[in-house]
C-alpha cells in the first residue's frame, strides 16, 4: 500500500475500522499472535481479549486486536 493510504481494496484497512477474519499462524507469547488474512501476509495481532489461541483458529480482528474467535459451525 502506498503512503497515501487509500482503500479501494476489499475493505478499509487504512482507517482500520473493519473486522477482518484472520487465521492464527503462530500463537506467540505475551498476548501477541502472528496471523494472516486473505492476502496471507503475516502480522501481529493482540489476543488479550480472546484468551489462548491455537494455530489454525480464525479470529475477527479490528485494528490489530482480535475481538472474538469465529466458530465455523456458527456461520449459517
Amino acid at each position: 500500500m502506498s503512503d497515501l493510504g487509500g482503500c479501494a481494496s476489499e475493505h478499509c484497512i487504512t482507517c482500520s475500522d473493519e473486522g477482518v477474519p484472520m487465521r492464527v499462524l503462530e500463537p506467540g507469547t505475551d498476548g501477541i499472535a502472528v496471523c494472516a488474512g486473505e492476502d496471507d501476509a503475516p502480522c501481529d495481532v493482540l489476543v488479550d481479549l480472546v484468551g489462548t489461541v491455537a494455530s489454525g483458529d480464525t479470529l475477527l480482528v479490528h485494528a490489530g486486536v482480535a475481538l472474538l474467535r469465529l466458530e465455523e459451525g456458527a456461520l449459517r
Partner: protein, 371 residues
C-alpha cells in the same frame, strides 16, 4: 476465504431479492439508513441497491469514523505533529483529511514526521525503537477500534514507555444515532445496524431505537447477502407491524456485547462531556478521552493543542450526506472540486465514506443520467 465466500453467492442474492420484492407494499416508499460506512462500501461495491425494488431506498449514515472528524481536530493533530521531536502516527486515511490549514500529508511534506500505521501497536513499537523521540498515536474510530487503543495504552503503561501518548478521538455510536433521530429533517423507516461496532457493544444498546422512536433496526453483517437479508428482515418487521432489534449478524455479534472488551474500555477511557461531529455539531457524551489513570499518556495534556473550532467550507455538504438528507452526487462539488484525490469533505476520503463509495464504484455517472 472461509467465513466470507458463503455470503457472496449471486444465486442466493437473487433469491433474497425476490423475497424482498414480494415483501414490499406497492405504493409505499421505504427509506432505510445503513449506519456503518462498511455497509455503504458493500452496497456500492456489489451493487446491492440494484437488486432492490425502486421503492426501497438506502441512505447512508454517520458510521465512517474518518468522515465524522471535524476540521478543528485535524488542525489540532497537525499542531502536535509539528512539535519538535514528535513522530506522529495515524491510520492512512487520516493523512488526507483536510483541516482548516491543510492535511497531515501536507504537514509531512513540509517536514513533520508523520507516519502511517496499521494499528496502535505499530505506534507503540515505533516508540520503543525511538526512545529519544515523542511518539503520538492519532486514535480514531468507534467502539470497534477503541479496544485496540485501550490495550495498547495498557501495555505502554505496564512497560513504562515514557515517550508514547495518544491523541484520542474515539467516538461512541449511540449518541449520534439519537441525535439523528431527533433531527427534524430526517425521515427514516428503519436502520441497518452497525455489525462491527456491535461485536463490542452488542445489539442491546440499540433497543432505544424501537422503544423510543418506533423504528426497527437489524444489526447486519458486511457481505452482500448479509445486507440483503437485513433489508428483508427490516421490511418484514414493517409489513408485519413489528418494531424491534433483530440480529442478522448473530454468528459474530453477541446480544450483550463483548464483556472483555467493554471492561478494557471502561478502565482506559471516560466519556467526554461533549464532542463535535462533522456535520452533526456538538453531541453530549459522544466521545471518549483517557481516564485519570491514563492521563499521563494523554497527548492533549502533554502537548499544546489549539482546540480551535473550524467551520466546514461553504461548498461542503458532508453534514447533509451524513444525515442521509442528500445523496452524495447531489452535493454541488461532488466529482468536480471534490474527488478522492483532492477531497474537500471527509466523506470523500475513506472508501467507507458515502461520497468515495459512490465515486470509486462509478455510481455517480449513472445517477446523474437518471436525473
Amino acid at each position: 476465504m472461509k467465513f466470507v465466500d458463503e455470503f457472496r453467492d449471486a444465486e442466493l442474492g437473487r433469491v433474497l431479492a425476490g423475497q424482498i420484492a414480494a415483501a414490499v407494499e406497492p405504493g409505499r416508499h421505504y427509506k432505510l439508513m445503513e449506519v456503518c460506512g462498511g455497509h455503504t462500501h458493500t452496497i456500492y461495491k456489489y451493487g446491492v441497491d440494484d437488486l432492490l425494488p425502486a421503492n426501497v431506498e438506502l441512505v447512508h449514515g454517520p458510521g465512517c469514523p474518518v468522515c465524522v472528524i471535524p476540521m478543528g481536530r485535524v488542525d489540532d493533530a497537525i499542531a502536535v505533529a509539528r512539535e519538535p521531536g514528535v513522530i506522529f502516527t495515524c491510520f492512512g486515511d487520516m493523512m488526507r483529511v483536510p483541516g482548516g490549514h491543510g492535511t497531515l500529508l501536507e504537514a509531512k511534506a513540509e517536514g513533520a514526521d508523520v507516519r502511517m500505521v496499521y494499528s496502535p501497536l505499530d505506534a507503540l513499537r515505533i516508540a520503543r525503537e525511538n526512545p529519544e523521540r515523542e511518539v503520538v498515536f492519532f486514535a480514531i474510530g468507534f467502539e470497534t477500534t477503541a479496544p485496540s487503543t485501550a490495550l495498547t495504552l495498557m501495555r505502554a503503561k505496564r512497560e513504562g514507555i515514557p515517550n508514547f501518548s495518544v491523541f484520542c478521538n474515539h467516538v461512541t455510536i449511540v449518541p449520534p444515532l439519537r441525535a439523528l433521530l431527533e433531527s427534524p429533517d430526517l425521515r427514516l423507516d428503519g436502520f441497518i445496524g452497525p455489525g462491527h461496532v456491535s461485536t463490542v457493544v452488542g445489539a442491546r444498546p440499540f433497543a432505544f431505537i424501537p422503544a423510543d422512536y418506533g423504528k426497527p433496526i437489524v444489526v447486519s453483517g458486511f457481505e452482500p447477502l448479509d445486507v440483503l437479508q437485513s433489508v428483508h428482515m427490516i421490511l418484514r418487521q414493517l409489513v408485519e407491524g413489528r418494531c424491534e432489534v433483530e440480529n442478522q449478524y448473530a454468528r459474530v455479534v453477541p446480544y450483550d456485547g463483548n464483556m472483555a472488551a467493554l471492561r478494557v474500555l471502561a478502565e482506559v477511557f471516560e466519556l467526554r462531556p461533549h464532542f463535535e461531529w462533522r456535520g452533526l455539531g456538538f453531541i453530549s457524551h459522544s466521545a471518549l478521552r483517557l481516564s485519570a489513570a491514563y492521563a499521563g499518556l494523554d497527548a492533549e495534556r502533554r502537548f499544546r493543542v489549539p482546540g480551535v473550532r473550524v467551520a466546514d467550507p461553504k461548498a461542503c455538504q458532508c453534514g447533509e450526506v451524513l444525515k442521509g438528507v442528500i445523496k452524495p452526487w447531489e452535493c454541488k462539488v461532488f466529482g468536480t472540486a471534490c474527488t478522492p484525490e483532492r477531497p474537500i469533505g471527509t466523506c470523500m476520503v475513506s472508501s467507507e465514506g458515502a461520497c468515495a463509495a459512490y465515486y470509486n464504484f462509478g455510481r455517480f455517472a449513472r445517477e446523474r443520467e437518471v436525473v
